[in-house]
């Protein structure tokens, strides 16, 4: 069964039709590259899946069960994690602090509960080790490289063993060496059976890690095919409209 299924998802903001009847499925352990020009509706689609806003019509199903998200936190509870483009990290907290932000581990004695720093640091360290990332739990995020920050944001999504991880332009603003780190992280997510949707402008990244590519143009899905049957030239044509659909 598909881990995520979108059926006829549309979204309009007043008179603007941002998405029109999008059908999309994602399988476990699979990475889907979502491509499209600026304003094609990629971010809108991601935000609908992540629960930032509800679709105007159509439905979303997780593991075959139709779901309705009011807020991002509800999507997270049902196994949808998102890595935002700006990563949404608190620079003044440690790596472990960010990983556990909003779901801190606590110890309790009667009515008094306190943060269990040791457990959070250990668990965060395990997550970084699983991601093969050279990130230390007690370091402040402020002092980290772009790749390490990505690792923190990705480690956070793995805390709850999510069904699906959405990644919005994870390689947009980092160096070449760090891009490799991030792509390795995505491979690691796939290996552990997570579904990944990758929004990216960078064609090489999509072709390096994704199993399927989907292209949005003016709010409509114009292609959804295995990456092996496509080519960067075809995808470029689909994005610009030189190729109508595939």
């Amino acid at each position: 069964m598909s881990v995520l299924q979108l059926r006829g998802v549309s979204k309009s903001f007043g008179a603007i039709q941002a998405l029109t009847g999008v059908d999309l499925t994602v399988e476990r352990g699979q990475a889907l590259g979502l491509m499209g020009d600026n304003g094609a509706g990629k971010s809108t689609l991601m935000k609908i899946i992540a629960g930032n806003f509800a679709p105007t019509s159509g439905e979303i199903a997780l593991d075959g069960v139709t779901v309705h998200f009011g807020r991002p936190i509800e999507a997270r509870r049902l196994g949808v994690e998102i890595v935002y483009q700006d990563l949404a990290l608190c620079d003044n907290l440690t790596a472990a602090g960010n990983v556990f932000l909003g779901r801190e581990l606590k110890k309790r004695l009667g009515p008094i509960a306190w943060l269990d720093h040791a457990a959070m640091n250990t668990r965060a360290g395990e997550l970084f080790a699983e991601l093969k990332s050279e990130t230390r739990p007690r370091d402040l995020v402020r002092q980290m490289s772009g790749g390490q920050r990505q690792a923190v944001a990705i480690a956070r999504t793995r805390l709850s063993d999510p069904k699906i991880v959405l990644m919005d332009e994870p390689t947009a603003a980092i160096s070449v060496r760090q891009i490799k780190e991030v792509l390795d992280l995505i491979h690691r997510l796939k290996e552990t059976g997570h579904a990944v949707i990758l929004v990216s402008h960078r064609m090489p990244d999509v072709f390096a890690v994704c199993d399927r590519v989907a292209v949005l143009r003016r709010g409509a899905l114009v292609a959804d095919k295995p990456i092996a049957n496509s080519s960067p030239e075809e995808v470029t044509g689909l994005i610009t409209g030189a190729i109508a659909a595939a």
Partner: protein, 338 residues
């Protein structure tokens, strides 16, 4: 430092393990309160050489008691500043809370009711500040500046511009709480010490403390992580107001009287104490220990100028100077890091 991407993962693990994280001493010496404490010891050492009066028990007693009130309020202010906010209304609130306490006790109520009235007044003002800032998204500067004017005005109206010096049946208890000592240490210092410990614990070990720092570091990220940002913001203004209420309650006990001018211009000293103690006005950085340390430095400067025979009119000049120097140092250190 960097690891070749082809290297074995075992090597990465070994590298991570071998890289020592900051030791306790390193992390302490990086904080502003540490360096301010060093400055306090230095000034104290110099004053011991220069003045015979400085180290006398009487002078130390006065210094300690004077800074305790600012320290208590500065604790609450650190929480507000940590969320990138500011609370200008604490001085006026002292006047209002003090007058309310005085009127309630003058009317014959006991110390318990007087204290509750004081805290309820403070909590109400804090709630109004917090709600306007968190839910109506108004600038903290504007909201609390308005409250500065309004709270003082209500205190004037309520007191009919008269001093209150009779506090009913529990007057002795009130004066004991604010003015007496336990084990040779003035009571306000005890309160400051206990509250500092509570804030230190809350900042390091409570979910609330973690959330306050998260909101100050990146409010949007905190919201996306499911943190109730609005409620956290309201809570810091309520807590700032409550510390002002506690300071007012103890101060009227010490004075044995209250006028509606209680706490006038204190907001400047309280904010200065928090900032000198390392709280960053841009949000996300605050130290519980910074509040008493910052307040102590300011009181020490005041006392030193007094003992050195320098005109008291210069005091505010030096408070302002140290505030500017503290912020400047913070910026220079940050530049060095990034």
């Amino acid at each position: 430092m960097t690891t070749d991407s082809n290297a074995g993962h075992a090597r990465i693990d070994a590298t991570i393990a071998s890289r020592r994280e900051m030791s306790w001493a390193q992390s302490v010496t990086r904080t502003q309160p540490f360096w301010v404490a060093i400055a306090i010891l230095f000034i104290g050492f110099v004053m011991m050489q220069v003045s015979d009066v400085f180290m006398t028990e009487r002078n130390m007693f006065n210094v300690a008691r004077n800074f305790a009130f600012f320290g208590i309020m500065a604790l609450g202010m650190t929480a507000v500043i940590c969320t990138a906010g500011i609370d200008l209304s604490v001085g006026s609130l002292m006047g209002l809370a003090g007058i309310v306490t005085g009127m309630v006790m003058q009317a014959g109520w006991g110390i318990g009711v007087g204290f509750l009235a004081c805290m309820a007044t403070a909590a109400t003002v804090g709630l109004i500040n917090g709600a306007l800032i968190a839910y109506l998204r108004m600038a903290p500067f504007v909201v609390t500046l308005g409250m500065l004017a309004m709270a003082r005005s209500i205190a004037m109206v309520a007191s009919n511009n008269k001093m209150i010096y009779e506090f009913g049946p529990d007057q002795d208890i009130l004066e004991w709480i604010g003015g007496a000592s336990v084990l040779g240490v003035p009571n306000p210092i005890w309160v400051l010490a206990i509250l500092t410990a509570v804030f230190w614990w809350a900042y390091n070990y409570s979910t609330w403390g973690r959330w306050v720092f998260a909101v100050g570091g990146n409010a949007q990220a905190a919201r996306l992580a499911g943190i109730p940002v609005e409620r956290v913001v309201v809570s810091v203004y309520v807590i700032s107001s409550l510390t002002a209420g506690v300071a007012a309650f103890m101060m009227i006990g010490w004075f044995g009287s209250v006028t509606n001018a209680l706490g006038q211009t204190y907001e400047l000293n309280v904010i200065a104490a928090s900032v000198i103690g390392g709280a960053n006005l841009m949000g996300g950085v605050a130290y519980a220990l910074g509040a008493p340390i910052g307040a102590a430095l300011m009181e020490l400067i005041r006392n030193s100028l007094l003992l050195a025979g320098i005109d008291a009119l210069w005091q505010q000049f030096f408070v302002g100077l140290f505030l500017i120097i503290a912020v400047l140092l913070e910026q220079i250190r940050n530049r060095g890091r990034s």
